[in-house]
Symmetry: C2
Subunit: 666 residues, 2 copies
């Protein structure tokens, strides 16, 4: 792999995000893009040009035809009309007559008009100064490798983090968790992790554990660890403004909070009620926050998810007061067309206002910087602080860490999940595009909440989603409190769920190996067909993904469908898998196929010259039980095939991963 010729252009005075780790010399001539008077960058698009990138957000893989914003935002209604979700991945691939990629480095707001206003034109506008990196390459994977050269290699979690993670906002106490684990065990459904949502804390205070619900957390952690189950507790960004709580007192005393213009704490409402936002842009404050994780690592916890770090703000204290004053003016009025909605919006629009970000300030090297100027790296700084602290606290262990909010650069330290999706078939379909887009940005360890977080899942949706989810590095079933229970044993069809879950564990050596290979090579784990095949049809396929170069999956994303259309750019062998051992197979010619796929089946396709190694799953309860030394393999034909396998081998550090590759022949 030769380094791409990355060029750098600086506009204004960009705040250093830390995303770029490579020193790139500044050059003068900006190709492709025109800089207009208002500072926006634009170019015209050929009809056939496809745009990739921007990380996991709404809509399809090809981002053309919509307006996106880099504006990390807690938004639980992921509909087609949204412009931004939780992460800002300012990485765009232009795949047309010109083929190039760009990374626009700024922690502030960016508007990406990708053929929205004018279908044949891109226009990119940033609020603040930015550094633009631009490079060309012959192929799409090489363009992605360019971003890795620039921003570094991805985070690789420990092997157990590739197991199955059962989560729900609503597991209240030890006994709830024991019961969930017991049921999975009883039904011979493997399980590696249980996530803990807000419920485990004492009044939503970070780094506390409810004594009532978890009388001895360390002991309970040991109990689960003995069964090979990891607890993965949530950590939220905001800290409860509770003077009786030492963590808050220390935060106040040390001044580690975001401030209003007058220097006083900027109070906001989040889950715990009145809170302060730690000033993660201040390295000392960030380090202090990271040290707090010790309260949980000391109890044996080795995995975390960082949430509400866009930052999520339900209301600011000041604004809530204004709303209460304003609402009075509507009382006893005849509320018509305009005034009624104005009134209703007073409360309806209280949460996650962009305006809040202009009401508080960070302190960086003695300088005040307004919240909106650093909005897109707030959660990244939080999670980087956690990653750094966890390395210090646990120097000999790899830990699991994933975040909701993200900015490129964080991919070196943590994974992400795609936030509060819903139990919608359309969100299952988006999951496919999101998985590939997250990987482009470098977040190889990522995933959606399988079955959907909000709303009520049906059994068929859960099973179809599982059939795609088993390929996802982050493999978690999560749901909101009050929704229909969503564990994989809630919907009947236990044999079907068990078969597909076991398939995940049979695939674990393959999934982990492909992940490590992608991480080491600057590649991607999930790839759109166009990243592997060069024919025209492959460029438009958005609902089939390659896993590495040899395996393809094509999930059924429509309710009541008994199969789906699949496009094969070359002959492939189809495996219709109901479990690791129960499948049928056929050789399919290149071209279009309608393939039946019953609810209990997973469509897996294999290219000639590749194989799919499978582990034994009899008696496998979790990833610890998976024997990497006893693999069989599914093959395209009888010819011998070699496969490079990576195993965990007790690897302590991501840097030494490459040592653990070995070539098997099947």
């Amino acid at each position: 792999m030769t380094d791409p010729n990355i060029r750098k252009f600086t506009f204004g005075k960009p705040f250093p995000t830390g995303a770029v780790i490579r020193d790139v010399p500044e050059t003068a001539h900006l190709p492709y893009l025109t800089v207009s008077e208002d500072g926006s960058l634009s170019m015209s698009l050929a009809p056939e040009t496809i745009l990739y990138g921007l990380g996991p957000t709404v809509r399809g893989l090809n981002k053309r035809g919509w307006l996106y914003e880099s504006a990390n935002r807690d938004d639980s209604q992921h509909t087609e009309e949204k412009h931004a979700l939780y992460g800002s991945h300012n990485f765009l691939i232009v795949d047309g007559p010109a083929r190039f990629a760009l990374f626009l480095d700024t922690p502030g707001w960016v508007v990406w008009d990708l053929g929205y206003t004018d279908s044949d034109r891109i226009s990119i506008t940033a609020d603040d100064g930015f550094t633009l990196y631009l490079w060309e390459a012959e192929t799409l994977p090489e363009l992605v490798r360019g971003l890795r050269v620039l921003t570094g290699a991805p985070y690789v979690p420990p092997l157990w983090a590739f197991g199955f993670n059962q989560s729900r906002w609503g597991y209240r106490d030890e006994n709830d968790l024991r019961e969930v684990i017991r049921r999975y065990r009883e039904l011979d459904m493997p399980l590696d992790m249980v996530s803990l949502d807000l419920d485990y804390m004492e009044g939503c205070r970070d780094f506390t554990v409810s004594r009532e619900r978890f009388p001895d957390f360390a002991d309970f952690n040991r109990e689960l660890a003995g069964e090979g189950i990891h607890m993965v507790p949530i950590v939220d960004a905001a800290l409860k403004a509770d003077e009786a709580w030492p963590v808050y007192r220390e935060c106040l005393e040390k001044g580690f909070f975001c401030r209003k213009e007058d220097g006083s704490p900027f109070f906001v409402g989040v889950w715990p009620g009145k809170c302060v936002l730690p000033d993660f842009a201040d390295p000392e404050a960030a380090a202090w926050f990271g040290r707090q994780y010790r309260a949980l690592t000391d109890a044996g916890v080795r995995g975390f998810w960082n949430d509400m770090n866009e930052p999520a703000i339900f209301y600011s204290e000041d604004c809530l007061r204004e709303v209460f004053e304003k609402i009075r003016t509507f009382q006893d009025r005849d509320l018509d067309l305009d005034s009624f909605f104005e009134m209703r919006n007073l409360f309806g629009s209280l949460s996650h206002r962009d305006a809040y970000l202009r009401d508080y300030f960070h302190t960086v090297g003695g300088e005040r910087i307004r919240g909106d100027k650093l909005r897109n790296i707030y959660g990244t700084r939080m999670t980087e602080a956690a990653a750094k602290a966890l390395k210090e606290q646990l120097p000999d262990e790899r830990v699991l860490l994933f975040s909701r909010s993200s900015y490129i650069g964080l991919h070196r330290s943590a994974g992400i999940w795609y936030g509060d999706n819903r139990s919608w078939w359309s969100h299952l379909k988006w999951n496919v595009a999101q998985a590939a887009a997250a990987g482009m940005s470098g977040f190889l360890y990522s995933g959606a909440d399988i079955g959907g977080f909000g709303g009520d899942a049906t059994g068929d949706l859960a099973l179809r989603w599982l059939a795609f989810g088993i390929f996802s590095p982050l493999f978690r079933n999560h749901s909101i409190r009050g929704s229909r229970p969503q564990e994989f044993w809630r919907f009947g069809r236990e044999e079907a769920f068990r078969g597909v879950l076991k398939l995940r564990y049979a695939l674990l050596p393959f999934i982990y190996s492909e992940f490590v290979k992608a991480a080491l090579s600057g590649g991607m784990y999930f790839l759109p067909l166009s990243f592997v095949f060069s024919d025209a049809r492959s460029r438009r396929v958005e609902d089939q993904l390659m896993i590495g170069e040899g395996v393809m999956t094509a999930p059924v994303c429509e309710q009541n469908a008994d199969g789906r259309f699949v496009y094969l750019p070359e002959p492939m062998r189809l495996f219709r898998m109901r479990s690791p051992k129960d499948f049928d197979t056929e050789l399919l010619p290149a071209g279009d196929h309608f393939l039946s796929c019953t609810l209990n089946e997973v469509l897996v396709f294999l290219r000639k010259g590749y194989c799919l190694p499978l582990a034994e799953t009899d008696g496998v309860r979790n990833s610890r039980d998976v024997d990497f030394s006893r693999l069989s393999a599914l093959k395209y034909d009888e010819a011998p095939v070699s496969y490079t396998l990576y195993d965990d081998g007790g690897v302590r550090s991501e840097l030494s991963l490459e040592k653990y590759g070995r070539t098997l022949v099947f």
Copy 2:
């Protein structure tokens, strides 16, 4: 056509909805369904059973796997997780080893658990007494004909109502409308109607016209009529509580309003502010409301849309007062996880509460009946009253009338539109299923807002939606105020939009004829493939529709797709149409095809033995200009094909339509 053997079963004391016009004798034995103790009806489903019906609502054609409610509701967020929209069409087809249909006649709430709780089980639960009609048939179309035998033949609007209708909430005055019409004319894009939303009224008072914005409405109507353009004003259900307004005073004096338990008016907030709900269940009140349309028919108006008639209630006066009292208790509190959302919901959940329906009463024959008991026929009674009055006011004319809220039975008097959809690709796709489902219930004249009502459309969405919309009997582009302007000349690509719009007008003789044939025969205009073909694959196709028996369309519903998969149950001739005269064609064998379809193309398929008649469109400005006597035809092959054409021929009454059919040979 022989009449199906319809059986009737009465449970409790159902309120007469008027939906059924055929006298059916009561029988004792209920086949297929089991009545359980709580009165719910249930049956188990074979794996292959498909469920059709329930009218235009969320999700696909096959209603299996979700829980639906018959609960007419104004809900502008049509997401997959919703259970009810604006209409209650209690018609269900069970297409499995047993093939039968049922109509459950009640104006109250019904829950249809169609494999939601248990994927292999139906359970139907009604709040109140109901009459169940059940019948079997050999084919799906015959099952639909059974419903027509039971509930009567569909409404057929005048020919001009099949032209193009441009609408927007936000056309403020005469000049706005003139400009819209001028632009369509200038660009040689045909147009028959402009809808008027709230803007035309004086302070949202029904039957008033703003003198400021329309100084002489009758004169303006004449001006547009001279250009062949019909104005189609909106009429809302609720009446502004304005003592200075004679219509309200008369409503009060005559007691034609819905009442609280104490007999006083039930005041609600809707667009005009404080309102009363006319008591459409009271025949005198309904007739009085119908007479008010004369204010507009006298000005020359011949088309109306009835809105907000679920009924939509933004708030009740009493409840708003309670909310204002309650909100005070949240002031100056530390709002945590639970209390914050409780507070926000006070206003957020103020609109369209089901509870409101239990707070008011109708007066029917001197008897008080609570609002929720008649909820699903409220809008139907309103629109039936309008239809009856319009017949009296305009005995020699067919008028255009369509409603948002509906119940089966209304299909004899009016059309419907599918309410406040959004500019989402998923809503384009739903439009396909909704169109077929509405037709099953008898609402042949129906359609979705093309381009989407809420949210911002892009040009490609508008064009793809138009490519399906040109086949829709109700053919309207409508959008919400504040959204991106959505007229078909707003997005560039004028030639493409013009070509497809002209195709609609070339198809007008075909569309009108197929519509009349469906109306006369008890059939459907849009048909799922399974209603025409009997192969197994056709049963699962949800995104291709037949129009009559000979023509099929297959819209592209994915952004950035350059084509789509199409399944052909038999060989068909494809026409890739860019305009009535610009197309290419190829003969396709039965089976699966990936067919390219650029943004300016419409995929039309023709079966052997059928033809597609086309009118001349040069110089055609509206439906008046379409010459039914000069038709050419697209054909499968050279063999002569006969086609039964219906033309308007100045038909005054739907009852005489059959006289106007004549057979042409192409």
